[in-house]
């Protein structure tokens, strides 16, 4: 590429990106996919199940919404197979708001992803919150022009997803619990290993790649740059403004809030408070102000008592 973006690693540049030199405009390149993730930094992406909720989220300052039929807390409570949303629901939410609209596809369900791409959603979340469609293979995300976000619990998983073409990584956390402990574990695991890898001798990187089960080129890149090749967001269990500030201080670059907003007592106020807390995550004075009198948070679940751990889906 003529002016290769320094923020986009050559190792994960797609064939389409290579063709995006001088001349006609190129859509769907890795630069363009990753670019939207960069624009969402410092923001809050909220799960919504209706157009009205999407409006509430936009009014509160969400940078994007995730359109789905049931929030994770309800999927957990009601059980059954959780699938991609009805296109009509996605379209209704797209009409209701001007901010980006994301939607979830099942792990490995590339046909659902094709539907979401045809709907022109702005990001596809290949999500463990839905029931996996393929227990061995994730979606080949290079085959798509729409960008993908994928969950990860550790560095190896994150780099495997990036190797498959994901342009954004989020912690899995334990969705639908309102319990931040798993998201903290995943962020610390990912970022802790990034820090260790930067200390590794060049000869040790091969063993790191083997141990992580991750592409060597991406392992080298993390070792050289000290960061993931794509933005790292946090998801899974965020229920309060302080939860958002916690994960941002740990190194997340933006937050997804699933059940935490619309399963709380006063969604509009809580949504706004989480947005403010994410923007001002190092400012305890602002956290005090926005946390005061928010009403009840979502009830929450103890992770140790769960029958189904969603974070164990995917590999």
């Amino acid at each position: 590429m003529a002016a290769a973006p320094d923020t986009v690693p050559a190792s994960v540049a797609s064939p389409a990106a290579d063709a995006a030199a001088a001349g006609s405009p190129q859509t769907g390149t890795f630069t363009v996919k990753r670019g939207l993730a960069d624009m969402l930094r410092g923001g809050v992406i909220m799960d919504v199940v209706t157009a009205d909720q999407a409006k509430v989220a936009e009014d509160a300052g969400a940078v994007a919404v995730m359109a789905l039929e049931r929030v994770p807390a309800d999927i957990r409570a009601q059980g059954g197979v959780a699938r991609m949303s009805d296109p009509e629901l996605v379209e209704g939410i797209q009409r209701a708001v001007t901010i980006p609209v994301m939607a979830k596809a099942r792990i490995g369900h590339f046909a659902e992803a094709q539907v979401l791409q045809a709907l022109q959603v702005d990001y596809v979340d290949e999500s463990e919150v839905l029931t996996p469609a393929d227990e061995a293979n994730h979606i080949d995300k290079w085959a798509f022009g729409v960008p993908f976000v994928c969950g990860a619990t550790n560095l190896g998983e994150a780099l495997r997803r990036i190797g498959e073409g994901a342009a954004m990584i989020r912690s899995k956390g334990e969705a639908g619990t309102g319990n931040i402990v798993e998201a903290v574990r995943h962020l610390r695991a990912i970022l802790g290993d990034v820090r260790k890898l930067t200390q590794a001798d060049p000869a040790e990187r091969y063993a790191w790649a083997k141990q992580l089960g991750a592409p060597l080129e991406l392992v080298r890149e993390v070792a050289d740059t000290g960061r993931l090749p794509v933005p790292l967001f946090c998801a899974g269990g965020i229920a309060t403004p302080a939860d958002a500030a916690l994960v941002m201080q740990l190194g997340a670059e933006a937050v997804f809030v699933g059940s935490g907003i619309f399963k709380s007592e006063d969604p509009a106020r809580r949504a706004r408070a989480v947005v403010e807390a994410t923007a001002h995550y190092t400012d305890p004075d602002i956290l005090v102000k926005v946390s005061r009198g928010l009403g009840g948070a979502m009830p929450g679940l103890e992770v140790a008592t769960l029958e189904q751990r969603l974070a164990e889906r995917g590999w």
């Binding site: 590429m1 003529a2 002016a3 290769a4 973006p5 320094d6 923020t7 995006a20 030199a21 001088a22 001349g23 006609s24 405009p25 190129q26 859509t27 769907g28 390149t29 630069t31 363009v32 670019g35 939207l36 960069d38 624009m39 969402l40 930094r41 410092g42 923001g43 936009e58 300052g61 969400a62 940078v63 994007a64 001007t98 901010i99 980006p100 791409q117 022109q120 959603v121 702005d122 990001y123 022009g145 729409v146 960008p147 947005v275 403010e276 923007a279 001002h280 400012d283």
Partner: protein
């Protein structure tokens, strides 16, 4: 050294910081009014303009920024930053705050959704050498530019047959681009902005020294 503030409420703040430091400036993050002290110029990054607009109000930065615009502080807005600096906007929210620093009318997401986001080369007046590689992410379209605005670059607009739309504009101390120069390694637009600050304060290097390379 020129000290440039970056509005750091939401968006790709880190990329602008890298770009400004590469281009030879000191970069400071602006989250509350006191952060503006001693700043020679201000960058408004890409992000979600409705979110940033809301946070401008709650952080108390809206009034100081309006004052800085009146005082002629040099400003550089990219994408969402361009919307915030514009005098009017279509398809925004009714309560969306615009600083009115440059006489342009913009349409939010004018190029469409992410599926229509694109990258391409753009020739920019005043920037010598190879064209600038430009990354457009759900970009706003400049619908019209007032007589006092210099249009430095144009590209075919989103709708076929409606002619070219401005993608880089300048009016006095204010520079805007519909795309994201901070997402590539080319620092020439940031250098142009630093030369605008230098010309105003008389402290920095001239345009030729900065933009020539």
């Amino acid at each position: 050294m020129v000290r440039v503030g970056i509005l750091a409420l939401q968006g790709d703040v880190a990329e602008h910081r890298h770009a400004l430091v590469d281009a030879g400036a000191e970069a400071v993050l602006i989250r509350r009014p006191a952060d503006l002290d001693g700043v020679d110029g201000l960058v408004l990054p890409g992000g979600e303009s409705t979110t940033v607009s809301m946070l401008l109000d709650s952080s108390g930065l809206a009034a100081p920024l309006a004052r800085a615009v009146r005082d002629g502080m040099p400003m550089f807005g990219t994408c969402a930053g361009m919307i915030l600096l514009a005098s009017s906007a279509e398809d925004g929210r009714p309560d969306q705050r615009l600083l009115g620093a440059i006489d342009i009318r913009v349409r939010r997401n004018g190029y469409g959704r992410q599926a229509q986001s694109f990258e391409c080369d753009v020739a920019i007046d005043g920037i010598d050498g190879a064209p600038v590689h430009a990354v457009f992410i759900r970009a706003p379209v400049v619908v019209s530019a007032g007589p006092g605005v210099d249009v430095l670059a144009r590209l075919p607009g989103p709708e076929p047959g409606t002619g070219a739309a401005p993608v880089v504009c300048r009016q006095g101390q204010v520079l805007v681009s519909a795309f994201h120069p901070e997402l590539t390694a080319d620092r020439r637009l940031h250098q142009l902005f630093l030369s605008m600050i230098g010309a105003r304060s008389g402290a920095g290097p001239g345009v030729a020294a900065l933009v020539g390379g």
